[in-house]
Subunit: 245 residues, 2 copies
DNA sequence: CGAGCAGTTGATTTTTATCAAGTAGCGTGG
DNA sequence: CCACGCTACTTGATAAAAATCAACTGCTCG
């Protein structure tokens, strides 16, 4: 079996998206359908890096010299307004790719939330390989499609959902993005702070806190710890997320 | 010169993005760098269609049998919540492609805003051609990147900008998407209603109307007609859009 | 043990939504 | 050609949601 530093260890060599339950589907939307030759070439370009909490992977406005494939931990991706208002456009976890949206310059800042590892590629080299490999190009396009669909759902959330609906949607969506750390069923790990959740959902820290308290009061969720939520009534939470309240 | 029904008439056969000032750049992010053979194959699959105002091109949840390339007019793309709240995720104009984000099912509804024409492809056929043509696949990926970047900017708008900042951003961005109808410099055509602008910016009709009135009162814009705005102080409008107020 | 930070909770303000009442533009039909 | 009625838009008054300001709690780490 090929040992690939560009993928989480226990994913290397696997081919089928559905076969990989331990490391999440999204690594495979890039790499899952590639032959060994492509995988090896991709891996030859890869450089494993570790990031401490808070360390930047990319900075908005800087030339996009590198692209990354996150292999463990979590990353926040955000844009800023001149006065400091921040919108987090996404959280990245193991298997997620950083840099799809950009051209020559990064259009966002990306920083590790916790201790994380990522696989770094020189953009020029990576693009050259991608353009030489139809399978890889196709895989990237699939990933881009998926991110675009997610972005559109997030627009619906930001433009039209109430604070409570936003939190419910967030708690339901998050597990599907954080595949390498399976918690017990119905448990959601929150590696990010309340402030980061707020900046992702277009709310304030206080509103996030209040809504979580309210959902707890309704018995819909339980706060196992500051950074872990248990979903007690999934059906109810789904109903709330879709505005059926 | 090849006559292509999949592109606005006066674009057919042109190759360089920068060379096409009359029909807009985005048609070329799909077709601009293809050779005549690819263009001809693409066109062989294309079927020109006309849509009256309000007619649907795609419906959320339905199987995605067709993809479209808009060749004239304008189209609204939106998602709904069960109670009817609507978020317009984008407006499409000549040259824009519809269906990038979807998989087997459409994840949005798309309807003509005004009398429009579009070029229809069977998704299966289109995908087969795309996968057989690296140049086309690459072009689609570039387009997807671009849309993803736009989506992230829209998230910043929806999550963190005030009503006034949203309108300013909207008025500044719109012209770059509506290429086939160049109005005089500093003029912005608004083919959509106030309600559609509101649903795109995450506001209400009344707020859109009030903010436009306020910007008019400050001498930043002038309402040439209900559906056309003149930007009187572009620098000021840009400052407002970025929150420097 | 204490300082600092993240989070919670409460009081108040602000922004925008909602409700309500006009007004203007436009197409239709007399 | 004008009157009518429809629809889109504007404007005003009020209400609601979330932001802001402020105080306090509790955990973590020197």
């Amino acid at each position: 079996m090929i040992e690939l530093k560009s993928l989480p260890a226990d994913c290397a060599g696997r081919r089928s998206e559905s076969a990989c339950t331990s490391c999440g589907a999204r690594a495979f939307s890039v790499c899952g359908f590639l032959g060994p030759a492509d995988l090896a070439k991709l891996d030859a370009l890869a450089e494993t890096m570790t990031f401490a909490a808070g360390q930047p992977l990319a900075h908005e406005g800087e030339p996009a010299e590198f692209l990354f494939n996150v292999t463990s931990g979590s990353v926040r991706v955000y844009k800023l307004l001149p006065d400091g208002r921040r919108q987090i456009t996404g959280f990245l976890f193991a298997g997620d790719f950083l840099g799809l949206a950009g051209g020559d310059q990064h259009l966002f800042t990306a920083e590790a939330i916790e201790a994380s590892t990522a696989c770094r590629f020189r953009r020029a080299e990576y693009n050259a390989l991608v353009h030489a490999s139809p399978a890889l190009e196709r895989a990237l396009l699939d990933r881009a499609r998926h991110e675009l669909a997610a972005a559109q759902s997030q627009m619906l959330l930001l433009g039209r959902k109430t604070a409570q609906e936003r939190l419910a949607s967030f708690l339901l969506d998050l597990p599907s993005h954080d595949p390498l750390r399976p918690t017990a069923a119905g448990r959601v790990r929150l590696p990010m702070t309340r402030g980061e959740i707020a900046d992702y959902l277009g709310l304030t820290i206080e509103t996030v806190s209040r809504v979580l308290t309210k959902l707890k009061g309704q018995g819909v969720i339980r706060l196992v710890s500051l950074n872990e939520v248990s979903i007690e009534r999934p059906g109810r939470l789904r109903a709330i997320a879709e505005g059926e309240t």
